[in-house]
């Protein structure tokens, strides 16, 4: 299991970061549904998603391919017309006042340039600020700050086309933030970036969130990004929310459930198969004089049951240790269970 390093420091790292009850809700999604087609051909992409996000929160949206992440985000943004449900952003109802909603929300979408590559960085920021109806003085001040924060000041007068991929991605993010909305959706903001550029972008994002008190809803396939940047994680599967909790809470629960077990001798194939089938053993390694495997269990009794089976079969226990899981392990287990699989 991997461990994340070089993690951006959060101001609230020591505390559970779920939005406290008194936090103002800036995004309220209620029973959102989206079905494509009719009758037998109907495909439900979003199936009753409800979500409340407090001001200043950073919420990660995770889910396997086809889980409905992008459709959910686009339905919230009005880029997809939902079949039913309600969306309220900063107290404005998206259905009755869509334009009003866009005064409060901006988005950087997956796989899109989001900016004009033939314009310079500064021209892009100015254009998108004007498109967002921003006050020019406030917009200029914000643009200069964003250029500094993203290390783009020296490149400000270069056309986006001439920048590296990482810099282009930063320009997209800066152009989204240049509109100065209080809620920002970022769909795969680090997609295609190398490790260094991704880490830098995460640090800047976290810093902006804390300095500007903006609310971010972020979707990413990269668990490290979500674990580093987000306070809270919403996991989608088959268009439904199957988990919604603080990152620390989700990972913390798994800390007490994942173990690495080492027993004396080589476990025979039939016993290994039985343990894999009954207790979902992972990473089984049969060495010359010992066998090592990982096991994630629903409760402590499960561990005792595994150890009991090994004892009955005459294998001595050499070592049992708790494993520190990361968000990826949590995600795989939760989506695996939701899909009826074994979490692999």
């Amino acid at each position: 299991m991997s461990q994340t390093t070089d993690r951006p420091q959060r101001a609230d790292d020591d505390a559970s970061s779920t939005a406290p009850p008194e936090t103002e809700t800036v995004l309220a999604v209620e029973d959102l549904r989206k079905t494509y087609g009719d009758g037998e051909d109907a495909v439900t992409a979003v199936d009753g998603v409800s979500l409340d996000v407090g001001r200043g929160e950073v919420v990660g949206v995770l889910g396997p391919n086809g889980a409905g992440k992008t459709t959910t985000i686009k339905s919230i943004l009005g880029l997809v017309v939902p079949s039913s449900g309600s969306v309220e952003i900063s107290g404005v109802d998206a259905d009755t006042d869509p334009r009003g909603v866009y005064r409060h929300v901006g988005a950087m979408l997956e796989g899109a340039r989001n900016t004009y590559w033939r314009l310079t960085v500064r021209e892009n920021l100015s254009y998108f600020a004007a498109l967002g109806g921003n006050n020019p003085d406030a917009a200029r001040e914000r643009q200069e700050r964003l250029l500094d924060q993203f290390g783009l000041a020296e490149k400000a007068d270069e056309t986006v086309n001439d920048l590296s991929r990482g810099q282009k991605q930063k320009v997209s993010l800066a152009a989204t933030l240049a509109r100065g909305t209080d809620v920002v959706f970022l769909d795969e903001p680090t997609l295609g970036l190398d490790v260094e550029a991704s880490l830098e972008l995460r640090r800047e994002l976290r810093r902006l969130v804390e300095e500007d008190d903006i609310t971010v809803v972020l979707s990413s396939h990269d668990m490290d990004v979500v674990e580093d940047v987000c306070d809270r994680v919403v996991i989608l599967s088959d268009g439904r929310v199957i988990a919604d909790d603080a990152v620390e809470e989700l990972v913390g629960v798994f800390e007490t459930q994942a173990y690495r077990v080492v027993v004396d001798g080589q476990l025979p194939g039939d016993l290994r198969s039985r343990l894999v089938a009954d207790y979902h053993l992972e990473n089984v390694e049969v060495l010359a004089d010992r066998t090592r495997f990982d096991v994630t269990l629903g409760d402590d009794d499960g561990l005792h049951a595994v150890l009991g089976v090994l004892d009955d079969a005459g294998y001595d226990l050499l070592d049992v240790g708790g494993l520190e899981p990361d968000l990826e392990d949590v995600f795989l287990d939760i989506t695996g269970r939701a899909g009826g699989g074994d979490g692999q």
Partner: protein, 275 residues
């Protein structure tokens, strides 16, 4: 339109969607277009060069093949070609423009403007029409120099007639822009429409009066009368001007309605901006 106070620069509180902010967006859109024209001169020159080249082929080629026919109808050719080149600029700014924005992934950003997608597209259209007038003026001058025929260019007559004549082309541009949002790759249809425009501009309205209700036909007819015969706007028959205004408004409104319907259709199907 409502507007929020613009004071402290905090997120969400300095957004304004009033007339001044809308004017600022218009200036930003106009500036963006100008910047691109100046920054990419080869592109700009080839765009204008193509217009001159096609006219050169029509004029010199036609004169070589049928000198009398070309000489007798040169004013009609100049005005018709002027209207066609301007129509193409105004129309393709919308149809091709929407396609390119979808490819770039900026269409969704335009959609998410607090001004509303429709008004944003209207601003882009006005910028396109202004650009078409810019190239129209240059093209007209070059054509008059090349042919040695000088037409009556009274701005008080030509500009209003030109705007009204172009309006149906803009309406068609909106409709095809909407279809591009919904169905994506329809560039072949875009090109086909450009040739249909030639037929509409050259429609024999005086022989078949019903043709004046088609897009561009009446505008072409009245522009020719004004520029060839030097007839001022107020000297044109009111009924003919009425037809021009009615077709301009009708095709513009119908095109805009089709655009609105298509973008909503695309959002229902979840294909807005997908490319």
């Amino acid at each position: 339109m409502s507007g929020a106070a613009a004071t402290d620069g905090e997120p969400g509180v300095d957004t304004d969607t009033g007339a001044r902010a809308f004017a600022r967006f218009f200036i930003a859109a106009f500036r963006k277009r100008l910047l691109l024209l100046v920054r990419y001169p080869v592109n700009t020159i080839s765009q204008v060069g193509t217009i001159f080249l096609v006219f050169g082929v029509v004029f010199y080629g036609g004169r070589a093949v049928a000198p009398t026919a070309i000489s007798d109808s040169i004013e009609g050719i100049i005005v018709g070609y002027l209207l066609w080149s301007m129509s193409i600029t105004a129309y393709s700014g919308l149809s091709w423009g929407v396609t390119r924005e979808a490819q770039w992934g900026t269409l969704e950003q335009l959609f998410m403007s607090p001004f509303g997608f429709g008004p944003v597209m209207v601003v882009k259209t006005v910028v396109n029409v202004l650009e078409s007038f810019l190239w129209g003026a240059v093209t007209l001058l070059v054509m008059m120099v090349v042919t040695g025929r000088w037409l009556s260019v009274d701005p008080l007559t030509v500009i209003p007639l030109g705007v009204l004549a172009l309006a149906p082309a803009v309406g068609v541009g909106f409709a095809f822009g909407g279809l591009a949002i919904r169905f994506k790759r329809i560039e072949s249809a875009f090109q086909l429409v450009q040739f249909v425009f030639i037929g509409l501009i050259a429609a024999p309205v005086s022989q078949y009066p019903l043709l004046k209700w088609l897009p561009l036909a009446q505008g072409s007819q009245l522009l020719q009368t004004a520029m060839r015969d030097g007839v001022a706007l107020w000297a044109l028959p009111a009924s003919e001007l009425g037809v021009l205004v009615a077709t301009a408004v009708a095709y513009l409104v119908a095109g805009y309605a089709a655009f609105t319907y298509c973008q909503r259709w695309a959002r229902r199907e979840g294909v807005m901006g997908h490319y």
